[in-house]
């Protein structure tokens, strides 16, 4: 038993500062060489809902908040800019902004990833081919999430914008690009760059060449003159100009889910992480191969360190996980707080024959059934609210199993261990159930802030603060591990029942939204 993590390392420099520009807030976290959190500062920004289905952010407010949290975290840590070796960036993915490069003023609020205003546009772009028109090049289906169609919407709907863009006066960026451009000087020579992970969520980048795809840009109606330069996830893009960290290198950018993959040290093919929040995002490292998905997953860039080869990932998301527990609390009133779901579920041995498929807005990967709606199947007079609570937790586990199966089918790689993070990892019964239905160990790392940690790690690699990914792996600490305990016969029977319940959700909507 070694004692290499004593109290002595706390508070001694040097440090890395990670900026996490998220959907609801911006944060700055200062990490030390052991990957421990030294200080955190956070500020929420306004969610703007101009119309049903529309979600916007004020990018100027976000930039102000980013400057404040950076200054706040440095102050709380009691350090100066000389103690900080690099700045790393992670960000809400796909949120899209256009701004004037001469004034630095946004031409419109940023359009947030959840915003569905490009629904008609993406269907139109699919033409007779459908959603998979550019899947081979970009790894993505046409959907309202991605940045390219959002940029097109702005060019079509903000008066005079297309002309200004074609003249070269307008810059496009996701939130990484906006943050880096401002940090490195803005109108005073700011670097207009994005990283491969963020670029891979625009639908404009070719996954095989890591360059903007001219043909797609033209079909999408997005002038390539306004696009940022695509760089790796870990390299120095420029130095900060002004502010609390004046002169410090800005040295990484990663989309939030990719940053979590990096922070969880998923550096080897087959390593996977799953983040359990309101919804769930699972990513698996597929090494040098952009694996085509035939099971409804997304092919995306995992990360790229400097000049090293690109590392790809498969991504699957589940719309409703933590949200189902909140629904039990807020809509059904069966529990008073979210953690009580475990108390209720633990009061019985099993689900009593009940299965809950929360297809509240259809089913995502691997089913992609927008016409599906939620079902509780297998009800008898025997079933109590405790059985339903158990079915609620099992729903998250089985949906993870379905994504994991799809990843194995697409990549040919078996999941060895699942690394988990997010709020729902506090639920011990859920984590045990997950290990049971996946039939593989589930591990929780000691640092919960895997997203910010991933950005810090990438920035630290870029400036030589850490020598290589092996050094990062040595920092990784297991806080808990759940091992499978379910008999295979029971697992097979339960999976079959779950899939039967899933079938019963499909085809509920007869035509468009009725």
């Amino acid at each position: 038993m070694s004692d290499n993590t004593g109290t002595s390392s706390h508070g001694t420099g040097p440090f890395i500062a990670a900026i996490d520009q998220g959907t609801t807030s911006s944060r700055c976290i200062v990490f030390d060489r052991d990957g421990r959190i030294v200080a955190v500062d956070q500020k929420e920004h306004e969610q703007i809902f101009p119309k049903p289905g529309w979600v916007e952010h004020n990018a100027a407010e976000i930039w102000t908040n980013v400057q404040e949290v950076v200054a706040g975290a440095i102050e709380k840590a009691g350090i100066t800019r000389d103690d900080v070796k690099a700045i790393g960036i992670t960000n809400q993915r796909e949120t899209t902004l256009l701004w004037d490069k001469n004034t630095g003023e946004p031409v419109h609020n940023a359009i947030v990833w959840q915003d569905t205003r490009t629904d008609a546009l993406t269907r139109e772009l699919g033409r007779n081919v459908g959603a998979d028109r550019w899947r081979r090049e970009t790894g993505l289906p046409l959907s309202t999430y991605f940045a390219g169609p959002k940029a097109r919407w702005l060019l079509d709907n903000v008066e005079g914008l297309r002309e200004r863009a074609e003249r070269g006066d307008i810059l496009f960026g996701t939130m990484d690009t906006w943050t880096i451009w401002n940090l490195t000087g803005g109108t005073n020579g700011g670097a207009h760059v994005t990283d491969v992970t963020n670029a891979s969520r625009t639908m404009l980048m070719n996954l095989h060449t890591m360059e903007w795809d001219e043909r797609i840009c033209e079909s999408m109606g997005v002038p390539s003159v306004m696009l940022p330069e695509i760089r790796s996830s870990a390299e120095v893009y420029g130095n900060a100009k002004g502010g609390a960290l004046d002169g410090v290198p800005v040295a990484s950018a990663l989309g939030d889910q990719q940053a979590a993959l990096f922070g969880q040290c998923c550096f080897t093919e087959g390593d996977a992480k799953s983040t359990y929040g309101t919804g769930t995002f699972m990513l698996m490292n597929t090494a040098g191969k952009p694996v085509n998905s035939y099971n409804g997953l997304l092919t995306t860039v995992g990360y790229r360190i400097g000049d090293e080869p690109v590392v790809y990932a498969l991504e699957g998301s589940i719309a409703v996980t933590g949200a189902l527990v909140q629904w039990m609390r807020d809509q059904m009133g069966l529990i008073k707080t979210a953690p009580e779901i475990e108390t209720l579920a633990s009061s019985v041995e099993d689900n009593g024959g009940a299965y809950f498929v929360p297809a509240f807005s259809g089913l995502f990967a691997p089913h992609w059934a927008p016409d599906a709606r939620g079902v509780i199947a297998g009800l008898t007079g025997y079933v109590t609210k405790a059985h339903i609570a158990r079915a609620v937790l099992e729903a998250t586990a089985w949906q993870t199993r379905e994504i994991s199966d799809a990843m194995t089918k697409d990549s040919g790689v078996e999941l060895t261990t699942l690394k988990v993070d997010g709020g729902m990892t506090a639920n011990n019964l859920l984590m045990q159930t997950l290990a049971d239905v996946l039939d593989s160990p589930v591990v929780r790392p000691l640092v919960a802030e895997t997203t910010a940690l991933g950005a810090a790690y990438a920035a630290g690699l870029a400036v030589g603060f850490w020598p290589d990914t092996d050094a990062l792996r040595a920092n990784w600490r297991r806080a808990a591990e759940w091992t499978p305990q379910m008999e295979s016969g029971i697992r097979d029977r339960e999976y079959k029942n779950w899939l039967k319940a899933v079938e019963r959700t499909k085809g509920w909507l007869e035509d468009d939204g009725s």
Partner: protein, 265 residues
């Protein structure tokens, strides 16, 4: 059979009356329903009102059940809520101490482990959530016995079997140790439950000051104890518990207490 206290019986009848059917009742309705003089009924109602069990509507002067009754029914703290609140603090304690961290609550005369963070090294460890530990010999258990009267009487009634040569089994010594724990605000277990293992624990208190659980850092004796100076164990032991570790455990327990609504820390 001992005679019951009449005024408490009357108060209970009033609460039952206010809980059923029509929710708000005037003083004369209450007095006549229960066959009491108005003055008697008013005295009881005033006492109940002062305790928050009954409220009086300012406009109509009528009485209804008070918010304190609701709070009574809901005051039980869910252990999974406790774990969710403790998660970040216990992770931090494991990181800073380099030892494994447990969160325990009183359950059926023992300590139920509701949360466990592995010692942050590369060794294989097994999750101990759901395991039971003895109340009388562990640091977690001693904290609960010192600050929770129910745990105290559970431990006194139970057989205190020696688990190691250092287990405290005699009632007088056990009581003396609990007094010391109350005095200093934390407890230790130096090889009293497991050979070669030592632990230090501090209480988690809710907003009423009740000890609802305890947090412990546990590890090999040579790391938990400082070889310098006299031991914390009664027999002089293998050395004092490291003071930085005591401070870290108490800070963690205070942070969780604050998170569950105890503002005093």
């Amino acid at each position: 059979m001992a005679k019951n206290i009449q005024s408490l019986e009357r108060a209970a009848a009033m609460l039952r009356l206010l809980a059923g059917g029509e929710r708000r009742l005037g003083l004369s309705d209450i007095a006549s329903s229960l066959g009491l003089a108005k003055g008697t009924a008013h005295g009881i109602l005033r006492t109940l009102q002062a305790e928050g069990f009954v409220e009086q509507d300012a406009l109509s002067g009528r009485y209804q059940l008070g918010a304190e009754l609701l709070r009574l029914g809901n005051s039980y703290l869910d252990v999974h809520e406790l774990r969710a609140r403790a998660l970040v603090w216990t992770d931090d304690l494991a990181r800073s101490s380099g030892e494994s961290v447990h969160l325990g609550v009183l359950h059926q005369g023992g300590v139920l482990v509701v949360h466990h963070v592995f010692r942050p090294d590369d060794s294989r460890q097994v999750l101990e959530v759901g395991a039971m530990q003895p109340l009388y010999s562990t640091a977690l258990g001693k904290v609960l016995c010192a600050f929770d009267p129910v745990a105290h009487s559970d431990a006194l009634e139970a057989e205190r079997r020696p688990l190691t040569p250092h287990t405290v089994t005699l009632p007088e010594r056990f009581e003396a140790e609990l007094s010391a724990v109350r005095e200093k605000g934390w407890a230790s277990d130096v090889e009293e439950t497991w050979q070669g293992v030592a632990a230090v624990a501090a209480p988690i208190r809710d907003r009423h000051g009740m000890a609802v659980g305890a947090i412990a850092a546990t590890g090999a004796t040579e790391r938990i104890c400082d070889p310098e100076g006299a031991g914390d164990r009664g027999d002089g032991g293998p050395g004092r518990i490291r003071t930085d570790l005591v401070a870290a455990v108490r800070d963690c327990a205070r942070a969780v207490s604050r998170d569950i609504g105890n503002g005093r820390f």
